[in-house]
Amino acid sequence: MEEKRPKTFTPSDVIAALFVYLPKEFSNDPAKIHSTIARLQKEAEYKYLLEDFEFLNYDPFPYSPLLGRILNRLQESRLLASLNPDYDMYVVSEESKKAIEEGILNKKLYDQRERLSEIAGELSAAL
């Protein structure tokens, strides 16, 4: 049986860490974001990072309430913003990116950088 490794990161750490690899501005389309994470979660190499997200089989796209809350909570804590007046793009400032890189990526997810970069690449392509 596969041994369960205790995790030193949270699902919100994983999502925030992706920002380091994403462009400064990216589309906030929930259909694409949730669908991509739901798809990648099924791939063995990303399961460890994404397994906490449970997806509901909503029509028209699978939706993870936890992922929805995390994206909103990251906005509450100002690490993520939505651009006024259209609100159709997320923005992560250079200062926030730097803080995430130092405080999350390097401290909690150092060994997972390659995987995170791949997930961000898939997400970027989808968006």
């Binding site: 919100s12 449970e54 309430p65 906005q75 690490l79 995430i100």
Partner: protein
């Protein structure tokens, strides 16, 4: 400790409720008046369902838990709400008949209205407050794990409502009552349960029925937004008539979905606006949150003292919350002194006060503080949050019991799921989600993000509050590395 399975204890509960219950004969439909929805009629079989102890119990479950301590007229209960949801579900069905009379059959109407009658029968005392406590119990966590995809994010009361309807004794009673005595057409009772949780639907074509009960613009929301606003005195409105004129059933789509004409999109926006305004002004009002802490303290005292019970129940299992009422919790009879003291404080509205106000406005450099993000993540981690409270109590040299010291992080609301799933159709027949013409969900998230506020609560008294504020501020800095600005102290209004 062996955890008894949730379906087994629910079956026992159902049996106990029905054991001494004798249904009365109902020969004709009944008219019931409602301050919001006017005069409404209920079919004989529905009156029999409403008369069941499971539904009558809801008369003694507050709709907005302890909000009446802040909004004195917010005394509406889950029973009134249940009748409201049933009425609105019926009106939606009537509207849908215009577009799909072949699909919207009498049988479908019976199912949908029955699901509305039962949608809240799993609610415990003080509604959402019970939900928050029940969610942590092992048998609830286990049942979620055992049924992935079914209950991953369902609220505990939805899970309990589902299990009550699915219980063998309940199903047998319903078959006798609805089909046997009232001649209802043979209906799929399992589907009623599935509609309540809007998951596990065996018949995908029935999605539209589940959407009326638990969907992006369901009868539940359409009732509670109006009802909670009306009874609290808040001027938040929804144009229900406009909505009913624009909702229709696309019987050609697969799965069949509810859709709204562009002309009625404004009512969907009203639902989202109403939700965010109610959260901001009522559900997350600082005094309401403080009152909830007072009640949660009573349950923590029970948890910490194995000899304490409420009506002989330890309140450490989900099922206990279905057997007792709010009166049982707040009664002073046969309670130990410590519990009586906390109950009395609640009854006298002697509530905890703010020591600190925590928000993006009161945190130094929130956009670069990973610690602030980590702290806010505790909203998903009740154990971690309690550990932090214990550290704060220790930092205060254990001068105050933990039941008097609270760190409250209101749960974040989401809007994109509803805005994405709500389908609107323009006059040319082109369809899009509600968020497509304008990102209303992101706009509301921006509003929410600016309004979100957490608190540290403690006993009244200038000295106590200042002491707790200082120690809590130091603790947050030590544990999470973020500093609070003067606003955190000033907005607590310690005078």
């Amino acid at each position: 400790m062996t955890v008894q399975s949730l379906p087994a204890v629910i079956e026992e509960f159902v049996k106990a409720c029905l054991e001494h219950y004798t249904a009365r004969k109902v020969a004709t439909r009944k008219v019931i008046h409602d301050p919001i929805l006017g005069t409404n009629s209920f079919e004989p079989h529905e009156v029999c369902l409403i008369d069941l102890p499971f539904c009558q119990r809801l008369r003694r479950v507050s709709q907005t838990d302890v909000a009446s301590l802040v909004f004195p007229s917010a005394n509406q209960n889950r029973f009134e709400h249940t009748l409201g949801v049933t009425t609105i579900a019926g009106r939606i069905i009537e509207s849908l008949r215009k577009s799909a009379s072949r699909i919207v059959t009498e049988e479908a109407e019976i199912q949908v209205r029955s699901a509305a009658i039962f949608h809240d029968i799993g609610q415990g005392p003080f509604s959402h407050l019970s939900d928050g406590i029940i969610a942590q119990f092992p048998e609830v966590i286990q049942y979620r794990r055992d049924n992935p995809g079914m209950f991953s994010e369902q609220k505990p009361h939805e899970m309990l409502s589902y299990l009550i309807v699915k219980s063998p004794s309940f199903q047998s009673y319903l078959k006798d009552e609805m089909i046997g005595k009232h001649g209802c057409a043979e209906i799929d009772i399992d589907q009623i349960a599935e509609m309540i949780i809007a998951a596990g639907l065996k018949d995908e074509l029935s999605l539209w029925k589940a959407e009326i009960i638990n969907g992006p613009f369901d009868a539940d929301k359409l009732d509670y937004l109006q009802r909670d606003a009306y009874f609290s005195g808040l001027k938040i409105g929804i144009d229900l008539d406009r909505f009913l004129h624009s909702v229709w059933l696309d019987s050609e789509s697969s799965p069949r979905r509810l859709k709204v004409l562009t002309s009625g999109a404004v009512t969907l926006e009203q639902i989202l606006f109403g939700k965010v305004l109610l959260y901001n002004t009522m559900y997350h009002h600082q005094k309401v949150l403080a009152a909830e802490c007072a009640l949660k303290g009573i349950f923590e005292i029970l948890e910490d003292n194995p000899g304490y019970t409420i009506h002989g129940r330890r309140m450490d299992k989900a099922i206990d919350f279905l057997y007792i009422t709010e009166e049982d919790i707040l009664s002073l009879e046969n309670k130990p002194e410590e519990l009586r003291d906390y109950i009395q404080r609640f009854l006298h509205r002697d509530l905890l006060k703010r020591a600190l106000v925590i928000s993006a406005d009161t945190v130094d450099s929130p956009g670069t503080s990973i610690g602030y993000k980590d702290f806010k993540d505790l909203a998903e981690d009740p154990k971690g949050l309690k550990d932090l409270r214990l550290k704060l109590v220790a930092a205060l040299n254990n001068k105050y019991p933990i039941y008097d010291i609270w760190i409250v992080l209101p749960r974040t609301a989401t809007f994109s799921d509803e805005a994405s799933r709500a389908i609107i159709q323009d006059p040319g027949g082109k369809e899009k989600s509600l968020r497509e013409p304008f990102r209303v969900d992101e706009w509301l998230t921006a509003y929410w993000s600016n309004k979100w506020t957490g608190y540290v609560f403690c006993p009244a008294g200038k000295e106590v509050r200042n002491e707790v504020a200082k120690k809590a501020s130091d603790l947050l800095y030590d544990e999470y590395g973020f500093a609070l600005n003067d606003g955190a102290f000033e907005q607590a209004k310690i005078r």
